[in-house]
């Protein structure tokens, strides 16, 4: 053989190896090529050394190179088998727990990010300071109607009260507002919810004021307004230096003194900003709301959410006023209480929506071991333990996600959404549990219809599902009968294992090392 033909043949062999190398996954290709290149060098020197004219030797080298394709395919298959656990992940107990954990994380993150949810505040048990009641007239069925006249407020405040040691008044009106935005210049709105409140309002209710400026507090030449956080974010671009700016309410100028955090304080009326006025400025006008702080005696007497209050007028000619004291805490059920209530309701409603049985009936008198049963109950408990916080946070997301909802609306939304999600979640947890193999907790698959519905009374018909791990078969009757009313599990013995070789259980080793003979 001439050197040129020899060189061409060598290039051909290298070409075969290079072609085969493309079948090898990229990560292993370099090492695979290195090994086969080295082996080819030795094979060439052993079978067809340079200058040799043996056709048999050349043929052997070519046959050796063709074997590289089988090796490359083998490595490719091995890589797929390594990736098989990802396929086994589908429907496994770990995947279920991971998905629920992801849903919980997502709902919690949304609760933190959504404007209006105020997760930190809503989660706080002290969103409404205790010891406050809202006083209203008993003649009104609607709790949110303003019923107390300024003169009543002034009269109560001036008299020494055994049950109350402080009063605050406010009334909400829709007023045109003009303001200067740092980014967009002069702005105007035809109607904001303006609460004209007594100057002690925030002090009495011990509500925090953000971004307050002591210099502005000290300056007394202009009325002060406190922005709600929603308006501050929406109209003032969440400017932290907003304190000191001037807004115009109708014909009156007022200076911004701070921002009140949004929250469910149990106060009726949708308020965008609070205008703090001296008592003299609110001595007349329309009715409003009165908030009173209870003394120790008052707290001991008014421990119920709603307490009737009788006011003896100093003028004996006037009749007594029949009023009602509504606790601010009772006025706004906190989200946690709503959640617990809806969970209770969902647990009551659950048996009406699905069977509460876990469907662990075996065809024969087979009982899984204690550890398996504990594992199954632990899995169910983990699912429920993850579902409940998902219900809580997602209902908060829905109820408090929009700042346009008032407190009452948000409470109703949370009530409905929490109940619905909780009922659905618990229902799903039970149905999912019934569909999981009692041995490996993997969801059974490959449903097969068995029998004919028309022969229900002569023979069994229904659906059979199979555990992918080869542990069990699940028989679900198509039409429950007196002799086959519930689903039943058939536990498979070791003789079935060969059917599930390579499925992550049982007999993998035999399948892996049981090479076929050449």
């Amino acid at each position: 053989m001439t050197p040129s033909r020899e060189s061409s043949l060598h290039l051909f062999h290298l070409g075969l190896l290079r072609s085969a190398s493309f079948l090898v996954p990229g990560k292993q290709r370099a090492e695979w090529w290195r090994e086969w290149y080295a082996e080819l060098w030795h094979v060439r020197h052993a079978c067809a050394p340079p200058g040799s004219v043996s056709r048999e030797g050349k043929r052997q080298v070519t046959a050796f190179c063709l074997g590289a394709f089988q090796d490359a395919v083998c490595i490719r298959r091995q890589c797929r088998q390594i990736r098989m656990p990802h396929a086994l992940w589908q429907g496994s107990a770990a995947q279920c727990i991971f998905s629920l954990g992801a849903a919980l994380t997502a709902s919690y993150v949304v609760a933190l990010l959504l404007p209006g949810v105020r997760a930190g505040q809503i989660l706080s048990p002290h969103q409404v300071n205790p010891g406050f009641v809202r006083i209203q007239n008993t003649g009104y069925s609607d709790d949110s109607s303003p019923t107390i006249l300024p003169r009543q407020y002034r009269a109560w405040k001036e008299r020494k009260q055994p049950y109350f040691d402080g009063f605050a008044f406010y009334r909400v009106t829709q007023e045109p507002v003009q303001w200067e935005s740092a980014s967009a210049g002069p702005q105007a709105s035809t109607g904001w919810g303006v609460a004209r409140a007594s100057s002690n309002f925030f002090l009495l209710l011990r509500l925090p004021i953000q971004f307050a400026d002591p210099d502005i507090e000290a300056a007394g030449n202009m009325p002060k307004v406190i922005l709600s956080e929603g308006i501050w974010k929406r109209e003032f671009g969440a400017n932290p230096h907003v304190a000191g700016s001037v807004v115009r309410l109708g014909l009156q100028n007022a200076r911004i003194a701070g921002v009140a955090p949004d929250g469910s304080w149990g106060l009726p009326g949708k308020v965008d900003l609070w205008l703090l006025e001296p008592d003299s400025a609110i001595s007349s006008g329309a009715a409003g709301y009165v908030i009173a702080h209870l003394t120790a005696l008052g707290e001991s007497e008014m421990w119920r959410p709603r307490v009737p209050i009788t006011v003896n007028n100093s003028n004996s000619d006037q009749p007594e006023d029949d009023l009602l004291g509504v606790s601010l805490e009772a006025g706004t059920p906190d989200p946690w209480s709503i959640f617990l209530f809806t969970v209770f309701l969902a647990l009551l409603a659950l048996p009406a929506t699905t069977s509460v049985s876990l469907g662990e009936y075996a065809v024969y008198s087979h009982k899984p071991s204690w550890s398996k049963r504990l594992y199954r109950w632990g899995f169910l408990s983990a699912k429920v333990a993850l579902i409940l916080p998902i219900v809580y946070f997602s209902s908060l997301d829905l109820a408090y996600g929009r700042t346009t909802f008032d407190t009452t609306t948000a409470v109703y939304i949370q009530l409905v959404s929490s109940f619905s999600i909780c009922l659905f979640g618990l229902n799903w947890a039970l149905r999912d549990q019934r569909q999981r193999c009692p041995v490996c907790l993997r969801v059974v698959a490959h449903p097969a219809q068995v029998g004919q519905a028309s022969r229900t009374f002569l023979a069994w018909n229904g659906t059979e599902l199979m555990c992918l791990g080869g542990h069990t078969l699940l028989h679900v009757p198509g039409l429950p009968t007196s002799w086959f009313s519930t689903q039943r599990w058939l536990y498979l013995d070791a003789s079935w294992a060969f059917l599930f070789a390579g499925s992550g259980t049982g007999m993998e080793h035999k399948a892996i090392t049981g090479f076929s003979s050449p």
């Binding site: 050796f64 090796d71 395919v73 083998c74 490595i75 080793h509 892996i512 090479f515």
Partner: protein, 105 residues
């Protein structure tokens, strides 16, 4: 892997060849008469099952002999145990590839 794992005859032959001292693919091919398309894939599986392990020859040795470095294989502890079990199953295994053969390679 358990020592009682049942190997195919091919896999047992390859283990026996390695035990006899044929430590790279081509020498196993020559010793067993199996084609490259059988020997190398079988060694991949044996290595994956941790019955054998591989290592690269030092480059300096290969350079000294003016040839590319090659990959050597050897039995693991599990591989030796499995081979012992396979010898009981295939009594002729040791006769096919006696350990003395390696000394002549």
């Amino acid at each position: 892997m358990a020592s009682e794992t049942k190997l195919s005859h091919t896999a047992a032959m390859i283990l026996q060849a390695l035990d006899a001292g044929f430590v790279y693919g081509f020498s196993i091919m020559e010793m067993t008469g199996l084609p490259s398309g059988t020997v190398y894939p079988a060694m991949r599986r044996l290595e994956r099952d941790e019955l054998i392990r591989s290592h690269w020859e030092r480059q300096s040795i290969a350079d000294a002999e003016q040839r590319p470095a090659r990959k050597y294989y050897e039995l693991t502890k599990a591989g030796k145990a499995t081979l012992q079990a396979s010898r009981k199953r295939y009594p002729l295994l040791e006769r096919l590839i006696p350990s003395e053969e390696a000394k002549s390679v």
